[in-house]
Symmetry: C2
Subunit: 178 residues, 2 copies
DNA sequence: CCTTCAGTGGCACTTGGTGCCACTAATGCG
DNA sequence: CGCATTAGTGGCACCAAGTGCCACTGAAGG
């Protein structure tokens, strides 16, 4: 798999020719499966988004908005213990390799849309209104911060970090009267 | 200037050769002034960051943390009325052209660091602790959301949008008890 | 058996980006 | 003034990502 090449040789130093050769396909065929080399670590992310959508919708309406988002966030990012190492390697690529970090922005747009849609539905606004967009952007930011800390600490639990990060943000507004 | 080419021909369709020719320099020389074509719309962003740093530091300690950030944010993004059109064109490129949006992530890292540093100093933590990082990420997200709305609405005031977006985020945590 | 069509991949081309090196002009020094 | 050094410039060759075009192959279907 291409992940092996990325971790051993480094992402930038691995050429598409090498990936294609390792996969036993032609270079031209590679680009029919992946729109770009940057998309390889992402896999079928769009499908994952449906999980997040469902998880958000499953939350009972009496749970406060940001609690609902926080809990869904933690659940969405839960991975089976056996797959933690792979998830770590994947996120390490996505968040630490500058080329991929930049590219990830485009993928995150779709993720934010899911959150914004949920907020809009809950608060009776349109998904592209300021509040849903601002909240979606903020939640994504908090998630990335949690992920970065998770990558820094081999023993850390991702769910705990996501929970902490969301609570820290909430607490930071504590002394604000508006 | 290169901006003219970008807005008339489109960013992706404008080649480096064309930019260099329009600027009356060689292609090789272009790459000595700009690390990449993507950096052209950014200009001297690092210098701008110092303005933000100073503005944050100038805020009296009795102002609550997120209020201080919000006010600095509004001030930092204030532009002279005469330069609004140019700022609009620039931000339109940066936030709407996918290539540039992706690239901007790398520039935003430096911006976040400024906020995280301020939060760390205020709360007695290290800049790379979870809370400062989470807050910095969130504030950046809120800013981008505000900018996107600003670009959508030709008559909108950027400062007002930034203020609103920050308040909306704060309010969204209102019903959370932790 | 022959036709059709989807999947494959070779080839050539464009473009961003880099290393190398030659050229030029300004500066500094005897 | 003449010469050496040096910074700035840019031409040239090269690499790698990505795309359009087209020929090939093999399976399905009449």
């Amino acid at each position: 798999m291409a992940f092996g090449l990325f971790t051993s040789r480094g992402f930038d130093a691995t050429t598409v020719d090498e990936i294609a050769a390792a996969a036993g396909i032609g270079r031209r065929t590679f680009f029919r499966y992946f729109p770009s080399k940057n998309d390889v670590p992402w896999g079928a992310f769009e499908d994952e988004l449906d999980r997040m959508r469902v998880r958000l919708k499953a939350c009972p309406p009496q749970v406060p908005l940001m609690d609902a988002i926080r809990l869904a966030l933690i659940d969405f990012n839960r991975v089976a213990p056996a797959q933690v190492p792979l998830h770590r390697r994947r996120m390490e690529l996505i968040l630490r390799v500058p080329t991929l970090l930049a590219h990830s922005t485009l993928r995150f747009t779709a993720w934010r849309a899911v959150v914004a849609e949920f907020v809009a539905e809950r608060t009776g606004r349109r998904p592209d209104d300021l509040a849903p967009q601002a909240i979606a952007h903020a939640v994504l930011g908090v998630s990335v911060a949690a992920y970065e800390h998770w990558l820094d600490d081999p023993d850390a639990d991702l769910g705990t970090l996501l929970d902490d990060a969301m609570r820290e943000l909430a607490a930071s507004f504590g002394s604000t009267l508006g």
